[in-house]
Symmetry: C2
Subunit: 214 residues, 2 copies
Amino acid sequence: MTLDKTTLPTPIRIMVVEDHNVVRQGLVALIETESNFEVVAQSDNCDEAISQFQKHHPDITLMDLRLKGGSGVTAIQRIREIDIESKIIVLTTYDGDEDIYKALQAGARSYLLKGVSSEELISTIRAVHAGKSCIPTFVAQRLAERIGTEQLTGRELEVLRHIVQGRSNKEIAVEMHISEATVKSHINNLLSKLMVSDRTQAAMTAIQRGIVHL
Amino acid sequence: MTLDKTTLPTPIRIMVVEDHNVVRQGLVALIETESNFEVVAQSDNCDEAISQFQKHHPDITLMDLRLKGGSGVTAIQRIREIDIESKIIVLTTYDGDEDIYKALQAGARSYLLKGVSSEELISTIRAVHAGKSCIPTFVAQRLAERIGTEQLTGRELEVLRHIVQGRSNKEIAVEMHISEATVKSHINNLLSKLMVSDRTQAAMTAIQRGIVHL
DNA sequence: ATGTTTCTCCAACTTAAGGTGGAGAAGACA
DNA sequence: TGTCTTCTCCACCTTAAGTTGGAGAAACAT
C-alpha cells in the first residue's frame, strides 16, 4: 500500500437501475462525486438491467423496483441466477410492505427509501460492498409486522386484482370462468385475511400494502 | 464585458424543492454539472420552500408536488403571492391529471415528469428562464382531456374522500353530520360525474386521477 | 394412508348499496 | 326578482354484496 493520495485503492463498480431518467442521471452524478465510486452501467428497464449485469458484473447494483417492462423484483431474481453473490441494494419510494418482503426474499442485501440522505446511501454502498446486509430499522419493523399476516392464495389474489379493477362479482365470475358463488367464496376469504369488511376497503389496502399495483 | 472564458455571463440561480433527499441531492449534483447553473437553495418541505424563496428569490424554482407538510400546489400559490413573476417548473412523477391542472392553475410555467432526460430538463430551465412557458405535449393532451370533465362539488369531494378511506354510507353520514339519504345523493351525483357505477370504481379513479391522494 | 389446503359450488339469508323522482332552503349571480 | 347551483332530506324500489354453513374433488405433504 505504498500509494500517494491521488491513487485509489480499486474503485467500487456500480450499476444504477432506475426508470426515471432525471433521477437516474442525478444519482449517477451524485455517486460519481464520491472518489473511488465508479458507475459502470445504468438502465431504465428490467431486461436491459439483466443484460448489463451480465456484461459488466458490477460490485454493487442500485435498483428501483418500479421499472419499465416488469418489476425490479424480477430483475433481482434473474441477476441472482447469474451470480448468487451479487450485491443488490434496493432504492425506491415506499410502495407498501409487500415489495420490501419480495425484494429481500429475492436476495436484495439492503432496502433503502429515497428519503435517505446521500451520506446514508454512500455508507450503505460501502457496507454492502464489505459483505454486510444493511437493513434500516424502518424496514425491519415492516418485515416483522408481516409475520403473522395470512397469505392470499393464487385465486384470491386474482379476484383481488379484479376488485381493484372495479369489476363486479358477476364480471369476475365470467372472466375467471367460475361461478359467482365461488367468487363470493374467494372474496369472503380474502376479506377476512386482509381484515377488512368490504371490497372497497380490500381494494384500498391492496394498493396501500403493495399487494397489487395501481 | 471584457471577460475571459472562465467568467460566466451571470448564472441562472435555481432552487430545488423535493422531499426525497437522495433524489434532491442527485438533482443538485446534476444541475451543477452544467456551467452557469447555480443551486442557491433547496428544501424538502412546503414551509421551508416558501421561506427559502423569500430569502433567495431564485430565478427558477424546480418543484416536486409531493412534499412533507402540504402539497407543492400550496407552495406554488404562496410563492406567487410573494412574486407574481416567479418562474416555477414542476418536476414530478405522474400522480394523475388533477395535479397537472392544479399546478398550472397555480401559476407553474412548466410541468415535467421525472421520466425526462437531463438534457430536456436543462433546456426547459433555459426556456423558462428566457420567459417561455414550456408545456410538453403529454401534459397538453391531459389538460385538453380535462376540459369537459365535470367538477365535483365540495361535499361530493368530501364524500369521495370517505369512500377512499373505506367508510360505509352510515359512517360517512355520522362523520359529516348529515343523513344517510344525503350521502347517497352525493354518491349518486359523484358516480355519474366520474362516469363510474359503484364506490369501488369511484375510489380507484379518484386515486388514478389524483383527485385524492392514497 | 391421512390430513391439509385449495378450489370449486350450492342454498338461503341479511344488509348495504345504488336508482328514481321529487322537494325545500340557502347562497350566488345577473 | 328570478334563475342556478348546491346542499339537504324523504320514500320506495331493485339489485349487488356480504354471511353462514355447508360439501365434493384434486393436489400435496407427512
